[in-house]
């Protein structure tokens, strides 16, 4: 958590912060055959960013963040497949609103609790969402998944093509918007307040901060971003499966964020990138070892490298500076 935010932090965007975007644009031209994977990575970066806001900055531990992602995906999918709403922007809006509504409703409940009870509640809420999606087969397709999603061209002009070019750029544009909003928030007084709550909520109460209300705001915004990411997944895959809901995808997302580095904004970029690329290459050949490796990595990161990849990079840079 070394990225300084707060009242003395320089909010200007540094050069290094443009690098992910340059890389993403370069990827579009240089790796055309990997665009579908790229779109998936961009979607998960947005999802991870939403988790970083509440986990990394506000310090809320949740095992059920997939509830918002899944809800967003299903709302967009159902609207498109069953109700004939095909405008991609409208679908995103609807998904974000639905996820935000779920966020405010569940946040109002879980943020009053702490510790095991809070963990348990987030898990139970995600489990309820999974059960509903699983059992309401007539609407969600149940275990077979929801297919038959058709999406109209973006702004009536850009069709989702077979090579995933439009999908990639669409994801990139939305991630950019999501990143911009999140970054603005983190550098704002509100962001500083969230960090204060994470560091010491007792003290925040004592300086007059309505902690619960601030957390609820952050939680709702995070839910909306996650819902947006879920809807993006539905639009670009034109399919929604049960695997977007429940404990496993929540855990997986947490793994990605931890791998990249929590509470440093760009950990949410690095984590999904590394995880999903590794998964694409390794998981198909060695599914069991892949899972084992993920677990091992998590254990090692927790025991030895709490800052994740970016934390390690920081330390290497710091050490290099010492010798130069």
């Amino acid at each position: 958590m070394t990225r300084a935010v707060g009242y003395a932090a320089d909010p200007r965007i540094r050069f290094a912060e443009w690098l992910p975007w340059l890389a993403a644009v370069a990827g579009f031209f240089l790796l055309p055959e990997y665009l579908p994977l790229g779109a998936r990575i961009l979607t998960y970066v947005l999802f991870a960013l939403s988790l970083d806001l509440i986990l990394g900055y506000a310090g809320i531990i949740t095992l059920g963040h997939s509830a918002f992602f899944g809800l967003g995906a299903y709302v967009a999918g159902i609207l498109a497949a069953k109700l004939g709403v095909t405008d991609p922007l409208l679908l995103l809006l609807a998904a974000a609103c639905a996820a935000g509504a779920l966020g405010i409703a569940t946040g109002a409940v879980i943020l009053r609790t702490h510790g095991l009870t809070q963990l348990m509640l987030t898990l139970a809420i995600a489990a309820v969402c999974l059960e509903i999606a699983h059992k309401a087969t007539s609407i969600t397709g149940g275990a077979d998944g929801l297919s038959g999603i058709t999406i109209a061209p973006i702004f009536g002009a850009f069709k989702f093509d077979l090579y995933g070019r439009t999908a990639y750029l669409w994801c990139l544009a939305l991630l950019f918007a999501g990143w911009w909003v999140t970054r603005k928030m983190i550098y704002s007084p509100f962001g500083a307040t969230l960090c204060g709550i994470r560091e010491n909520s007792v003290r925040m109460h004592a300086i007059g901060v309505p902690v619960y209300r601030r957390l609820l705001t952050a939680y709702t915004i995070s839910a909306m971003l996650a819902g947006l990411a879920g809807a993006l997944l539905a639009e670009t895959n034109q399919f929604v499966g049960l695997n977007v809901l429940g404990f496993e995808p929540s855990g997986e997302l947490m793994v990605m964020l931890i791998l990249g580095g929590v509470g440093r904004l760009y950990g949410a970029f690095v984590g999904p990138l590394v995880y999903l690329i590794a998964q694409d290459f390794l998981a198909k050949q060695f599914p069991e070892y892949w899972y084992f490796g993920i677990g091992l990595m998590l254990v090692v990161v927790v025991l030895f490298a709490r800052g994740g990849i970016l934390g390690i990079a920081d330390r290497i840079v710091a050490r290099a500076r010492k010798y130069v």
Partner: protein, 291 residues
């Protein structure tokens, strides 16, 4: 009416059997969370390990069922001592997030290891003949295995409660749950106490997993799939308590069985919803000690 009554008895019976297993598996989780404040999400992996020890001991090495049960307890308890000493103990003072992540990592590893070693399919339990038939109790037939399961669980629970309430070890555990610093200052070796208690809790989980292998199928995704139920038992029952989780486990066992019997189209929906409302009503659980 007769049919309804009969299914009522049947649901109660199976529900109690299920609840007993849930309790034997989860009680260790309640105690370790209450005693050490450690959020051990990987607890289900110990139960799964117990199940695999049992099935392998019987099918590969031809051990008798009771011996295989005992082995499940001992092997899992022994393995957990190593894990506790090497890994868990490093994180006693770490934050909740670290503990959660670490134990999720252990779950991933356990799931993968089980897949590699035992394959994706669920492992059948080879029951001895004397547990296969029906036993007639009060003019009604019950599956012998479940009667056995309830009997063994009850014996274990009685032994556990006696141990915690009447022995020196139990007194030390209760003291340490109440106030760790105080317990340390009066000379209790909390380090060793933790290891022992962790081993006992994990051993019980292994035993529960083995004993309940017929009810909760032993397969690699076990620690993921049933985690929520184990946590519900602990959260609803109240941390660090022995009796709370017992009541909670029976409640969940019976209501889950009832829901799945009469309202299968809703699956576990009601259990989760009920848990949410219950925790809202009493955040520290039904029998939690915090005000």
């Amino acid at each position: 009416m007769e049919v309804f009554l009969s299914s009522l008895v049947s649901v109660a019976f199976h529900g109690i059997a299920y609840g007993m297993i849930l309790y034997v598996i989860s009680v260790g989780l309640s105690v370790t969370m209450g005693l050490m404040g450690f959020v051990n999400l990987a607890h289900g992996a110990f139960a799964m390990a117990g199940g695999y020890v049992l099935t392998s001991a019987i099918s590969r090495f031809g051990l008798s069922f009771p011996l295989a049960l005992a082995l499940a307890f001992i092997a899992v308890a022994a393995a957990s001592v190593l894990l506790e000493r090497w890994l868990y103990s490093r994180l006693y003072d770490a934050g909740e997030l670290e503990q959660v992540l670490f134990t999720i990592g252990l779950i991933f590893m356990a799931v993968a290891a089980a897949q590699v070693t035992f394959g994706m399919l669920q492992r059948p339990v080879l029951l001895p003949d004397y547990l296969k038939g029906q036993i007639s109790v009060l003019g009604r037939d019950f599956p012998a295995y479940r009667v056995f399961l309830i009997a063994v669980s009850s014996a274990m629970i009685a032994a556990l409660w006696f141990g915690v309430e009447r022995t020196l070890w139990g007194a030390m555990v209760r003291a340490a749950v109440d106030n760790r610093a105080m317990a340390q200052s009066i000379g209790i070796n909390t380090r060793r106490l933790f290891t022992l208690t962790f081993a006992l809790g994990s051993g019980l989980a292994g035993l529960g997993g083995a004993l309940g292998a017929e009810i909760i199928a032993i397969q690699p995704t076990y620690p993921f799939e049933h985690l929520a139920y184990f946590l519900i038992v602990v959260a609803v029952g109240g941390l660090g308590s022995l009796r709370g989780p017992f009541a909670a486990a029976l409640l969940i066992g019976v209501s889950d069985t009832a829901c799945k019997y009469w309202l299968p189209q809703f699956g576990a929906f009601f259990i989760y919803v009920a848990t949410i409302f219950l925790l809202l009503w009493r955040p520290a659980g039904l029998f939690g000690r915090r005000v």
